[in-house]
């Protein structure tokens, strides 16, 4: 690590922090949609209810982490934003469609309180979009991490310029990994969302299974990375700090499964959060000092210092306002399983 950590590095770090938060909280919301789709067994409807109550009060607040990452990117690293918008135009647009459908379908389902076929259709759109969006997010991350998101060639076919950079085995593998990760995370979180031991067992089983799938997908991704993504392969496998990082990630993953096995759900939740964060920071570290390898480094892409300083001050002020509000929100709703949704007497 360099000794002259300064403004651009701090802000790049903050982008990683907000992506970490988005993957942790927003990712669990996406995963909830996956379990909504795969709800089964005698408690099928109750599973969906728990998922809906867990997501309800907070999904918009969780979604804001993505906006924060976007805003930080275009204020502080405008060249990166311009590059990603150009090279990844297609997967980002499709991801947007997924975000729009998922968010609105969830809201429509919640507020359209007639229990009829229309509501079930919203449920399916919500679940389907929850499945597709994480894959596309992973594809975009995979394209960046593997160093394929270089400058767009001035000439060449449409496919060469705007499809090949992101349609690679590696980015698809990262997409699948994101999906498995989010589903696993959501299942771990959901074990603590209800009083019914039967439901807790349902989500425990799901968490264990998805944890196994995640192991396989992550291992496969690593193998492809060695072949297909030279930059990330080097960062992931060779650099001196990467080994302890991988060991830590693996240990966290094993801790999650062990805690689930012995039904220590609070421990499982903490370990799962740690595991996800380690993956995000492992990715960020593997690309350092590049934001978009092979050419856009943190220093090269940074906005003028005046902007960076002001954004940092604004973030500081914002945190003073937001952190207490966020703590308040979680204390009001996550202290006990939620019962009321729409008002006194649950009335309409």
């Amino acid at each position: 690590m360099p000794s002259d950590i300064a403004l651009p590095e701090i802000l790049a770090g903050l982008i990683a922090v907000s992506l970490n938060a988005y993957v942790l909280f927003g990712g669990a919301d996406f995963g909830g949609g996956v379990w909504d789709l795969l709800a089964s067994g005698p408690r099928r409807d109750r599973q969906r209810e728990v998922i809906s109550h867990a997501i309800g009060p907070i999904w918009e607040a969780n979604h804001v982490w993505l906006i924060l990452a976007i805003v930080l990117t275009f204020s502080c690293f405008p060249a990166v934003f311009a590059r990603l918008g150009t090279v990844l135009h297609i997967p980002l647009s499709l991801m947007l469609v997924g975000i729009v459908l998922r968010g609105s379908a969830f809201t429509f389902r919640t507020y359209d309180d007639q229990h009829d076929a229309v509501q079930r259709r919203w449920g399916r759109i919500f679940a389907g979009a929850s499945l597709v969006t994480p894959v596309l997010l992973g594809v975009c991350i995979g394209a960046v991490a593997s160093g394929h998101a270089g400058p767009v060639a001035a000439a060449g076919s449409f496919t060469d310029r705007f499809v090949d950079p992101w349609l690679t085995p590696f980015s698809l593998a990262v997409g699948l990994m994101a999906l498995a990760l989010f589903a696993h995370l959501a299942a771990v979180f959901l074990t603590l969302e209800s009083d019914d031991p039967g439901l807790t067992e349902d989500f425990r089983t799901r968490a264990l299974w998805s944890g196994g799938v995640l192991f396989l997908v992550a291992f496969g991704t690593l193998l492809i990375a060695r072949e297909q993504a030279p930059l990330m392969g080097v960062g992931l496998l060779v650099s001196p700090w990467s080994l302890p990082f991988h060991v830590a990630t693996g240990l966290a993953a094993i801790a999650v499964l062990a805690a689930l096995w012995w039904r220590r759900y609070h421990l499982a939740r903490v370990a799962a959060g740690l595991q996800v964060s380690l993956i995000v920071w492992g990715w960020a570290g593997s690309q350092y000092p590049y934001l978009v390898p092979p050419d856009l480094s943190i220093r090269d892409a940074a906005a003028p210092a005046a902007t960076l300083r002001l954004v940092l001050i604004a973030l500081g002020l914002g945190i003073v306002v937001l952190l207490p509000s966020l703590v308040y929100l979680f204390r009001v709703f996550k202290a006990a399983p939620s019962h009321s949704v729409r008002g006194p007497e649950g009335g309409h």
Binding site: P57, L329, R342
Partner: protein
């Protein structure tokens, strides 16, 4: 369709869609808080029902506004990478602040919606107030960024790149105050009169429905004062446009030749070949007076600009006429409501007033779309006025017709669903069985 036009159309369509939800997200929380406050102080259960319905309306529209706003923040990079690379360091600041305001709004809307029986009544009302305040703040920050595109400040151009960036000076640009004031008032006027107008229409069908009467009075309380103040704020905006964007003003008024004592052109259709406006009403010295508060003032015409730098005069002129016409009607309805209320008349039984109000229901939203058309089309061919051309900011990706059509279809679908949901959830009066105690057919009337 050329790619540039497709990109502009997609952006226009996304903004036109989002603005409706953004406006309601600013206006509706105020209605909701006023209704809850009335319930808390009078115990009137209709007000509680209204607060809950409007909160549900806010939630539905806020969610759609949140996702369509996310789409816009991405589209800035997807469609206009050249603009973002250039302007990001300056307008990133208001967007960062907007992010926080939006975050605060999301948090307290969650508290408000799901906290009816979890927090104290006082805390609940305060959560509502914070939703309203942060909603207004987030709108103001976004409009500041747009104002910068009209009157860019806070940087120097050195060899085609920006230098000496000062984001604070960028935020304090000379259009910021006028535009944010105009848009905030527009949000309250449009939302207030739309809700009042819908309930006025329902009162015409069902005159003694206590639910609609109460809704009407609260919505007017918010919408009417804003509608009355809006022409004054419009005057401020027009004078700033005259000073900083003379080409836009000239297009708004089909003012082709620079001169003194310039008439105000009302209506008509500009003939671009001859530079004349046919079938228009002209008020001598009107434009000079409105733009500079001086009947003899010189007003720059389109002749001072190269033809390639003209915005589309027919579109800008027509949109401007539409906005002013609708705004004037709304202001008059607001004055009428004020006069009736001042004389302590019951507004909800005055059939002609209710008809006028029902007619005004969609006007605020149409006026807002028209006003943004004036702002945006009137700035062309520039994306940053006088500094960066729209054609130089667009993405190099071809085939932009496809995302344009895709997002248009998606938004049409969403729009239809939202309209249907709002009808089912908020507008339709409560079923009689639920509300037999307060629904008072032909009962004694009280002034609202």
């Amino acid at each position: 369709m050329p790619d540039l036009l497709a990109a502009r159309s997609q952006m226009a369509m996304s903004l036109a869609f989002h603005i409706l939800f953004a406006v309601v997200g600013i206006g509706m929380p105020v209605l909701m808080v006023v209704a809850e406050q009335r319930y808390r102080s009078t115990g009137d259960r209709i007000c509680l029902e209204l607060a809950k319905r409007w909160a549900r309306g806010t939630a539905i529209l806020f969610a759609v506004g949140a996702v369509s706003g996310t789409v816009l923040s991405f589209e800035l990079g997807l469609l206009w990478p050249g603009f973002m690379e250039f302007a990001g360091p300056i307008i990133g600041m208001p967007f960062s602040l907007e992010g926080f305001a939006f975050f605060t709004e999301a948090i307290f809307l969650g508290v408000y919606l799901y906290g009816w029986d979890r927090i104290s009544p006082r805390a609940h009302v305060w959560a509502g107030i914070l939703v309203a305040v942060s909603g207004a703040a987030s709108g103001i920050f976004v409009v500041i960024a747009n104002a910068w595109m009209n009157a860019p400040t806070g940087f120097d151009m050195v060899n085609g790149r920006i230098a000496n960036v000062d984001p604070i000076a960028g935020m304090l640009n000379p259009m910021a105050f006028q535009q944010t004031l105009h848009m905030t008032l527009a949000s309250y006027a449009a939302t207030g009169l739309a809700v009042a107008g819908i309930h006025a229409f329902l009162l015409l069908l069902d005159p003694h429905n206590a639910f609609h009467r109460r809704a009407l009075s609260i919505a007017l309380l918010v919408g009417a004062p804003a509608a009355v103040l809006q022409p004054l704020s419009g005057d401020l905006s027009a004078r700033a446009v005259a000073q900083y964007q003379p080409a836009k003003l000239a297009a708004m008024e089909t003012h082709f030749e620079t001169g003194r004592r310039v008439p105000l052109v009302i209506g008509g259709w500009p003939d671009m070949a001859t530079g004349e406006t046919r079938y228009a009403i002209r008020i001598p010295g009107g434009l000079s007076f409105l733009a500079f508060h001086d009947l003899g003032a010189e007003v720059t015409g389109l002749d001072r600009f190269p033809r390639a730098d003209w915005p589309s005069v027919p579109i800008v002129h027509t949109a401007f006429q539409l906005m002013v016409g609708l705004g004037t009607f709304m202001a008059l309805v607001g004055v009428w409501a004020g006069v009736l209320a001042f004389r302590r008349r019951d507004l909800s039984v005055n059939t002609w007033f209710l008809r006028a109000l029902a007619l005004a229901a969609p006007m605020g939203f149409i006026a807002i779309e028209a006003g943004w058309t004036v702002t945006e089309v009137g700035r062309q061919p520039w994306i940053v006025y006088g500094v960066l051309r729209t054609a130089d900011a667009v993405t190099p990706m071809p085939g932009l017709m496809v995302p344009f059509l895709g997002f248009t279809a998606l938004y049409c679908f969403l729009g239809a669903i939202v309209a249907w949901l709002l009808y089912r959830q908020i507008i339709r009066s409560p079923r009689e069985t639920e509300w037999s105690r307060v629904y008072a057919p032909a009962g004694p009337r009280r002034a609202v």
